[in-house]
Amino acid sequence: MTIQFNDETFRDDYSFHNSAWAIKRFPFPFHEDSYMYSVNMEQHRGGPAGSIYEKRFDVDEHYLSEMRDRAMVLADDPLRCQSLPHMTLAGWDLLELIMVSKSEDYPELFELHRDGNTWRWVNKPMGIDDTFTFLDEATLPYGPLEYITRQAQGDWCVLDQRDDNLWMDAGMVTTQADWSLDFDIGMNFFEWHAPVPLAHEKGIFVRALKFLLNIQQGSPARRLNWTMTVTPLLDTSPENYHKWGIQKTTLTPENIGQKQHLRVELQTFFRLPRSNALVFPIRAYLCSFQDLMTMPKWGRRLHRVIRDLPEELATYKGFIANRPMMLDYLSKFDDGLPTSDGIWPEFESEPPLKPSADS
């Protein structure tokens, strides 16, 4: 299908919205009625047509607006994109991976013409048509990592692999769930995950790292992660927390359906060919509670997950104070009927919500 790009904002008047198409393909992250951290990784080998898993790097209706938001974040704070000196080659690897994938997966939107090291890149939605010399930084307006990730949705961490560990040595991070690239750059896998509760004790990071170190070129992997955001703000950075933190206190029983968003990250893992670095795209999808509730299965399940989530996780994810109000809202969409396994909405087979006695 051809994508109709939304003209919307992720700040100020928050005109962000999801079309019916975007709601239907939203990556609801709970495959059962409860949630706990696990080593939830699988191969990233496509998925159902139209789903967010189908392409290597999903492009959706929010593309242009997200890229506009990224440019604004970078203008305010250039430290959101950094690359340690030894990571330039990995930046070129990433530029190649994204250009090749996007031009093959979305030929009507992107073109890549290669003649030796002379490359022409055409990004039709963004109106870009650039010719440059591959591996020659002087021929691009930014470094290769920054150039290409100003044109690709989601955050990007580029990990150097050495000493049986991964090192966060480069990245483009403007839509993060409250962590700082500027602070974490140069850390290893265990250090940047240090603030996460419970998962270290469960041995999750030791097993996850082992898996990641063995990812081969051409065999990417993926997992989902999620958190909560009041208002569809993409830049939930610690840098700006003193500005956006207050928004958490603006929820009311009247506006929660429209204001409270579930924020899901599709995280993928690709090995890069020349540098042997690993790239970790973190693609965030936002969906308001009221849009989620249009799928009966999601309504029932979200209530149960949020209700039973361990306190440590609700605190870490930053919504412990708002959990009671969320549950008041969500409980109206849970009539106690069983839900089917898996994350897909199944709006055809799942029974509609049974109206409760008092409504």
């Binding site: 602070f183 250090e191 940047w192 995950h193 927390y241 003193h242 956006w244 933190g245």
Partner: protein, 198 residues
């Protein structure tokens, strides 16, 4: 002087040991304040023949005892900032096998360790022993300014003036812990400060 036992913490937080004499062609020993005591304990006459001691007294009186160790080179700096160009030079000139001993406050050790690793000194050749003040070197995640020697939590950022709480998350590249606004969700509601480990 007894050593402070840091409580168990998260994985980015540094841990410190006890200095031990090691074999090597040259030895660089850097201490601040009562960190001098750890140097006095680890020093051997053999080590001192090729040792360079850099000492930042911060009002303590260990100069004479350190000089009496008879190191090949001895330097006293008025502050870490005043000493850092010398430390940088010594590390840059270092030959293979240099042994580095750091003793004193976390802020000094973190910064000197960073100088050493940037100069290519392997981690295995750097030892750290905490002595004295448990104050932290803090980076404000909002304005990026560093506040040295923070003893209480919360504290006021010396650059932007926000009220920050003291996290255990630590960056070796910045040689600092992270400070985050404590009253972002309830402006002006700042609990009274207390000692970081109280």
């Amino acid at each position: 002087m007894s050593k402070f036992e840091f409580p168990p913490s998260i994985k980015s937080r540094p841990i410190y040991g006890t200095l031990e004499p090691r074999k090597g062609p040259a030895h660089l020993l850097i201490a601040d304040a009562v960190g001098a005591e750890a140097i006095i304990e680890v020093a051997t006459p053999e080590m001192m023949r090729t040792a360079h001691i850099i000492y930042i007294p911060k009002g303590t009186e260990f100069s004479e005892k350190l000089r009496a160790l008879n190191p090949a080179q001895y330097y006293e700096g008025a502050s870490y900032a005043a000493s850092v160009s010398r430390i940088h030079k010594v590390l840059g000139d270092a030959k293979m096998g240099l042994q580095v001993y750091l003793a004193g406050t976390e802020g000094m050790m973190g910064q000197a360790q960073l100088e050493a690793t940037n100069a290519g000194i392997p981690h295995s050749a750097i030892q750290l022993e905490h002595r004295g003040s448990v104050a932290r070197r803090m980076q404000c995640v909002h304005c990026k300014g560093i506040t040295e020697d923070v003893e209480v939590d919360p504290f006021v950022c010396s650059h932007c003036g926000l009220n920050l709480f003291v996290r255990d998350h630590y960056s070796r590249r910045i040689a600092a812990y992270q400070g985050v606004c404590i009253d972002a969700e309830d402006l002006g509601n700042v609990p009274p400060s207390k000692g970081i480990y109280e």
